[in-house]
Amino acid sequence: MLAKRIIPCLDVRDGKVVKGVNFQGIKEVGDPVECAAEYDKQGADEIVFYDITASHEGRGVILDVVRETAKKVFVPLTVGGGIKTVDDIRNTLRAGADKVSVNSQAVQNPQLIKDGADIFGSQCICVGIDAKAIGTNKWTVYINGGRIDMGIDLIDWVKQIEQLGAGEICLNSIDTDGVRGGFDIPMLKAVVNAVKIPVIASGGAGKLGDFADAFLQTDCSAALAASLFHFKELTVGQVKDDCRSKGIIVR
């Protein structure tokens, strides 16, 4: 049986790990290669680099980060942020990433999912989604870091991306993100029930038990968090111990 995965996410800008609060006062807090190696040591099942570099020139830097990390860290690496074309996917994979995560770009150009899956295989195409509730059990999809409501029904969208060949979904709830009250269980449940591809829970982890709750209450395959791990409030190892003690299979 597959183990449930715990995935730390590193936000990277111009080759440095950054942390921002409400999109303001972003500060550099570390070297991504070292941070990734530390997470690897803690038992991370996968590491996500989310590139928030704004300038086109800065784009090459994330590839250097991946290249260096791949020399030291021997678990799967995923890169998200700013991937717009098949060439971007190819370059990212060639640098040593095992998967790419596409988000806004996929909403604006769903063909990117199909082209990426056809050329490189579904297993390396993860689609990131930011969604927000508009009523009971109804959500719409947002782009540009949760700023623009595309008016697309979340469940329609996840079914479409599965059809297009996506290998995985990383589902971020705008409602729970940053609130630290736990993952968005109703949204997760709805998406997991709508598709057969793995779903990663994202947004809302605030305490130890939140990860196990997501695994016990939904059939999600993995759970992702950034700040919680970054600020050392919890280690990946502690989260796994908690899951294990509740009968969840983890590595």
Partner: protein, 202 residues
């Protein structure tokens, strides 16, 4: 020196990165002489079976692989492991290298998420030097939609995903295959690679 066969498939740098990390000298190559003079050989691979066999045939490497696999440690990884078998039914019936008895076909359970992707537990079936130093609770990283169907003799370890998924296979002599990616399986994977490199005695 370990030869990593480069026939244009997938992310082969990660195998080299892992060997570098272990301090084992390796080279990415499609040169028959380099492969013939290596202490051990690794056949990596991501992609489709017929495409990979076509590439190996075009590069003239099929005979070299068959000869070398009879005289030195030889490991196929992921698709590279599948290529070790007699044939595959991925897209079309296609002959493989025939180094291990058996065939490759789609994971049959249609209620499962395919690909089988993620960390799964190694269940040991026969003793194997690749398992030296491993414990009873080891997880390795899989990404695949097809699996091997082989005799119990060739099956050294498996994982359970619906039914049994061959994870480590071999011919009882020099040939080994890993369905998972040891180069992406953390400490467990590095240990398996290290054990493999130790087989060459260098």
């Amino acid at each position: 020196m370990i030869a990593i066969i480069d026939y244009g498939a997938g992310n082969i740098f990660s195998v080299k990165n892992a060997l570098d990390h272990l301090g084992k000298e390796s080279i990415l190559t499609a040169d028959k002489e380099v492969i013939a003079s290596a202490d051990a050989v690794i056949l990596p691979g991501v992609g489709a079976f017929p495409w990979a066999m076509k590439k190996l045939t075009e590069s003239g490497l099929v005979d070299t692989i068959k000869e070398q696999a009879k005289q030195k440690p030889f490991m196929g990884i992921c698709l590279g492991m599948q290529l070790l078998f007699e044939k595959s039914f991925e897209f079309e019936e296609c002959d493989g290298l025939g180094l291990i008895k058996g065939y490759v076909d789609r994971i049959p359970e249609d209620d499962l998420i395919i690909p089988h992707m993620g960390w799964n537990k190694l269940e040991y079936n026969h003793e194997c030097k690749l398992f030296d130093g491993l414990g009873n609770d080891e997880f390795v990283y899989f990404v695949h939609s097809y699996k091997a169907f082989c005799d119990d003799d060739s099956l050294y370890a498996y994982s359970t995903y619906g039914s049994s998924v061959p994870a480590v296979v071999g011919d009882g002599r020099f040939v080994y295959g890993c369905q998972f990616h040891p180069e992406k399986s953390g400490k467990t994977g590095l240990k398996i690679l290290e054990n493999f490199t130790a087989l060459s005695g260098r």
